[in-house]
């Protein structure tokens, strides 16, 4: 075995370890400490560190800007590892070293430390087989010098994670009828938690990032918007995650539709449309074949094109009626499809889209649901660029719930629109129309996210 091979082995081992740890953390978020899934995940994690190593038995993982690194090599990131990195950052930990002395108990304790989210002591922290290194002086200073992460950073991360997971999911579902439910659960729960703490902000990326580059972007948008719409109706993030999952998987049946049809630019022929319509059935087939399927996801996959009075498809059948969650997904689904820019057309704007939906036969009774949707749309979403009455340009960092059009912004230009050297933040609530700076004149629908 040459040196390169050895190194590759070591990195693989570290990756395996991180993946196990991340999935243990995900499991722990969803279930109690005693749950068999959590216990199993912890055991797997402990087994991973005890697996024979080529090089050093210890594994030291460092955290750099939401990514985990092993000896300078970034570790493949999925949603779970991304969240692990964010957890480590939250406890102000710059790196962790795992040794063979790790026990299931210490691993479980470590998970609790991460979940609690309180900063570790300045001198670091030591558990059997685990050593947590605190932030260095420089990192502490970085923290105090730079303002905290812009508010839209996290929604954007959620958005990207959801896209990733969905891409995988669709690929898997198309190839072998098998869904990585763990990943989906994870991203749904994350989104739900963010939705509880940030309200409709998680919708912002769907409003601002609209390029049609991902085939499944539609599903992710529907997922995020539905989650935001349903948030007031869920008793806790877990229940909301269930709703979200159902929205996430609503078009899973499309994974079985040939690409030529899915991506066709012209109008579909009748035969093609007949195939397209079968995605509801396909969805049920795919979902029902995974163990522990959520009945709600089945319902949404089947019913999200079913409208009142026998409109839509599949045709109504005794006792099969879309429930409230299906209704929300249906409205959001139409809304998203109408507002989304396509390669061959620009999207409709909100009012037009809503009117189209209202005029759609069989949607007349969905007014209330549409109202819920309208309430969740943000007018100057975080991440958008605004022009102030003074002519200065700024980026919206945080939208206050009570005064959405007086957000927290970061000034990026002067009154003439010339970029300034030192951007600074200000809360527009402190500026009235009269005297001093006045608030927003325009919302530029520029993809401010792209710059991030």
């Amino acid at each position: 075995m040459n040196d390169l091979e050895k190194r590759v082995r070591d990195v693989e081992r570290a990756e395996e370890l991180v993946r196990c740890l991340a999935s243990a953390l995900s499991a722990r978020r969803i279930y109690s400490q005693e749950h068999p899934r959590v216990k199993k995940a912890v055991r797997t994690f402990v087994a991973a560190i005890r697996a024979p190593a080529v090089g050093q038995p210890q594994v030291c993982v460092t955290v750099t800007g939401h990514t985990l690194e092993y000896e300078g090599m970034p570790i493949t990131d999925n949603t779970a590892t991304l969240r692990l990195a964010m957890c480590l950052e939250e406890v102000r930990c710059s790196g962790v070293e795992f040794g063979t002395g790790l026990t299931p108990e210490s691993a479980a304790d470590f998970l609790e430390v991460l979940l609690r989210g309180e900063p570790i002591p300045a001198e670091g922290m030591r558990l059997p087989g685990i050593q947590l290194f605190p932030w260095t002086k420089e990192e502490e200073e970085d923290e105090s010098e730079f303002p905290p992460l812009p508010e839209f950073d996290v929604p954007l991360l959620v958005y990207r994670a959801a896209l990733d997971v969905l891409d995988q999911t669709m690929e898997q579902a198309g190839a072998r009828n098998d869904l990585a439910m763990d990943d989906i659960e994870e991203v749904a729960l994350w989104t739900a938690e963010e939705s509880f703490s940030r309200g409709a902000q998680i919708v912002a990326p769907t409003q601002v990032v609209r390029q049609d580059k991902h085939t499944w972007q539609h599903s992710v948008n529907v997922f995020l918007i539905s989650t935001a719409v349903l948030q007031p109706f869920a008793k806790d993030p877990r229940e909301l995650a269930r709703f979200g999952q159902a929205a996430f998987l609503h078009d899973i049946g499309k994974s079985r539709i040939p690409r030529e049809i899915l991506q066709k630019r012209d109008r579909l022929t009748d035969e093609e449309f007949a195939i397209m319509r079968r995605h509801t059935e396909f969805g049920v087939e795919i979902l029902a074949s995974c163990p522990d399927v959520d009945p709600l996801a089945l319902e949404v996959a089947y019913c999200h094109h079913m409208r009142d009075g026998g409109h839509g498809y599949p045709k109504p059948f005794e006792g099969i009626k879309p429930g409230p969650v299906s209704d929300v997904v249906q409205v959001v689904d139409m809304f998203e499809a109408l507002t989304a820019p396509r390669p061959y057309k620009g999207g409709l704007d909100v009012a037009e889209a809503l009117k189209v939906i209202l005029k759609t036969p069989g949607m007349e009774a969905k007014r209330a649901t549409m109202g819920l949707l309208v309430r969740r749309l943000t007018l100057a979403p975080p991440g958008s660029e605004v022009v102030l009455e003074t002519g200065e340009h700024a980026i919206v960092l945080h939208t206050h719930d009570d005064e959405p059009l007086r957000p927290l912004v970061r000034f990026i230009t002067d009154v003439k629109g010339v970029p300034i050297d030192k951007p600074f933040d200000a809360d527009l609530r402190q500026y009235g129309v009269q005297g001093g700076r006045s608030p927003i004149r325009k919302v530029l629908l520029k993809p401010a996210y792209k710059a991030l």
Partner: protein, 594 residues
């Protein structure tokens, strides 16, 4: 065109100005009065109209003339005017009074922001009043909108408001202008502060902010009133209505990214207004009532029923059966669905029965299966099928054992013991394992009875284990059941168990044997005595055995006791050791039983 008669008198511009009731009337701020109740209701309509005009003016800035959204909006406005005038025959008078707007004689105070904003626009265009008569036409609406939307500079270029209005016919609308000098003069191009084109609406807002104290300072003024979600939302949209927040038309093909635009008219749209009136109570209510489990179950059955071919049918059947293993799917709906399957009408007898059987057999929870079987009447044939399916399950023994103890319809109950025994006999070791684990089920009288009557000896190893076991609770229960059963089969079973146990068998087992007046019981008890007929005897066992022999009450038993007592005097003396003889003697004399 007429000149004003004297300074301060208004100039009425209009194609049929003589009809104007406004002409010559002094318009002062003192004429502010409260709107009567009926007028208040109409104020809402008027407010909607004013908003509509402002929104349309903004749309003109965003869309090219003739864009169908603009024409649609104008047509809507025309219709709105028509609707307004359908209720009131007299013309609509809008008068600027200071910073306020008067509608007819009444102060437009209900929605002062819109009113004041509107008044601001009119004042900046030197318009003192507008009288709109019934029958207003599309072109006139367009004129109104154009007037609101026109740029200062453009207005100046055409020579001011009057030439602008004169250029287009407007038979149903009259404009009363401020006399020159009575209102601030229009700024000449270039004298404005900024270079570059200025948004006229913004300009007027900016002018207001700079010079006029009457302009509201945005939503802060009434912020305290805005607390609920609904109000906040309205406030949010209202701000949009009064400001220019849109950045251009919808995305063009090939453009990279655009957010979805929220147009300022969103809230003003009555249809959408109607939508957001609901606060989600309906949703909450539906969430409580709706069961996605039921729906999902129906979907699975429907898809099965509609399977296009045999292969799909088989595949979907597998999915359904897999799903019903999930306890969440066990709802009242399942019972309903199975009943329908058994109803020949929908599925045909064979397929329906087969499916019903399988579904029942797949439900993964014993309590649920019991409930299903208890509530669904099955014809004997179907019952047989269901039982066969259940017997094929992984957890068949505990499940069937449990069913044995339940109240079930006779078709199932009749066959159940047979199936259960067959299953047990097929793998006696497994049976023993189950029996020892699930004792509450095993020790039910009905189960023990079936096992005794089967005379299969299945119970022997179980019995044996229980006889040797401490604590004695389960043993006592079993012995009680065997003793009270009293049949020869029960005796045989017990006899085998006692024999299998060997020395140290529990004394209550021997006592139970004493309840069977049968030579076999005597035989077994005698064996126990015989094996203790040594110096190291187990006195307790001997006592129990002898007492039980006595309790048998049969002739042979009595004879045996006598034989033991007398064995000393016999030819072969001391056939029984002394302690045995002593105990036998005391038993015969009715000695105290322990």
């Amino acid at each position: 065109m007429r000149q004003p008669k004297k300074p301060g008198e208004a100039l009425l511009v209009g194609n049929d100005a003589e009809k104007g009731r406004m002409a010559g009337q002094p318009l002062t701020d003192e004429r502010i009065v409260r709107a009567p109740g009926t007028a208040t209701a109409r104020h809402e309509e008027i407010e909607a109209l004013l908003r509509g005009l402002l929104v349309a003016a903004r749309m003109l800035l965003l869309y090219p003339a003739g864009h169908n959204r603009v024409t649609r909006k104008l047509a809507d406005l025309r219709d709105d005017f028509a609707a307004l005038f359908a209720e009131r025959a007299e013309p609509l008078e809008l008068t600027v009074a200071g910073h306020r707007l008067l509608v007819g004689d009444a102060k437009f105070d209900q929605f002062s922001e819109i009113g004041e904003g509107f008044a601001g626009y009119l004042r900046h265009r030197h318009i003192r009043a507008i009288v709109i008569a019934p029958g207003i036409e599309l072109d006139e609406v367009r004129l109104l909108v154009d007037l609101l939307g026109i740029d200062h500079r453009a207005l100046f270029r055409v020579g001011g408001t009057k030439p602008f209005l004169d250029a287009r016919p407007h038979p149903h609308v009259q404009f009363l202008l401020f006399e020159a000098g009575a209102a601030p003069a229009l700024p000449a191009p270039g004298t404005g502060t900024e270079d570059g084109p200025l948004n006229p609406l913004l300009q007027s807002i900016a002018d207001e902010a700079a010079g006029a104290p009457g302009m509201p300072a945005g939503p802060q003024g009434n912020a305290q009133a805005m607390n609920s979600d609904q109000e906040r939302f309205e406030q949010q949209l209202e701000e949009f209505a009064l400001r220019d927040l849109l950045d251009g038309p919808a995305q063009k093909p090939g453009e990279e990214a655009v957010a979805f635009a929220i147009e300022p008219g969103l809230l003003m749209d009555a249809e959408i207004q109607g939508c957001i009136a609901d606060d989600g109570a309906e949703m909450r209510d539906r969430m409580r009532r709706h069961s996605s489990e039921d729906t999902a179950l129906r979907i699975l059955f429907r898809m099965l029923a509609e399977a296009p071919d045999e292969e799909q049918y088989r595949q979907r059947r597998r999915l359904l059966l897999q799903a019903v293993r999930d306890p969440r799917f066990f709802t009242g709906e399942l019972i309903h669905v199975i009943r329908r399957l058994l109803d020949k009408k929908d599925w045909g007898f064979e397929r329906g029965t087969e499916l019903a059987q399988s579904v029942i057999a797949y439900v993964n929870d014993a309590a649920a299966v019991t409930q299903l079987l208890a509530s669904i009447p099955l014809v004997p044939e179907a019952a047989k099928g269901v039982l066969a399916c259940l017997a094929a399950r992984e957890d068949a023994l505990p499940l069937l054992g449990r069913l044995l103890t339940s109240q079930l319809p006779s078709t199932i109950a009749a066959d159940l013991p047979r199936v259960f025994l067959e299953l047990a006999e097929a793998d006696p070791r497994r049976f023993t394992q189950w029996a020892l684990q699930d004792r509450p089920t095993l020790l039910r009288p009905s189960v023990v009875r079936i096992l005794i009557e089967s005379s299969s000896g299945l119970l022997v190893p179980v019995c044996e284990r229980l006889l040797l076991e401490r604590p004695a609770h389960d043993r006592k229960k079993l012995l009680h059941l065997l003793g009270s059963n009293g049949s020869e089969a029960a005796l045989r079973l017990l006899a085998r168990a006692v024999r299998a146990c060997g020395p140290g068998v529990a004394s209550d087992a021997l006592q139970t044997l004493g309840r069977f007046p049968h030579p076999l019981a005597l035989e077994v008890l005698r064996e126990v005595v015989e094996r203790n007929n040594r110096d190291d005897l187990d006195l307790e066992e001997v006592e129990a055995a002898l007492h039980s022999i006595h309790a048998l009450g049969i002739k042979e038993a009595h004879a045996l006791l006598w034989e033991i007592v007398q064995s000393r005097r016999s030819l072969f003396s001391y056939a029984y050791v002394r302690p045995v003889r002593v105990v036998a003697e005391s038993v015969l004399q009715g000695g105290v039983r322990r």
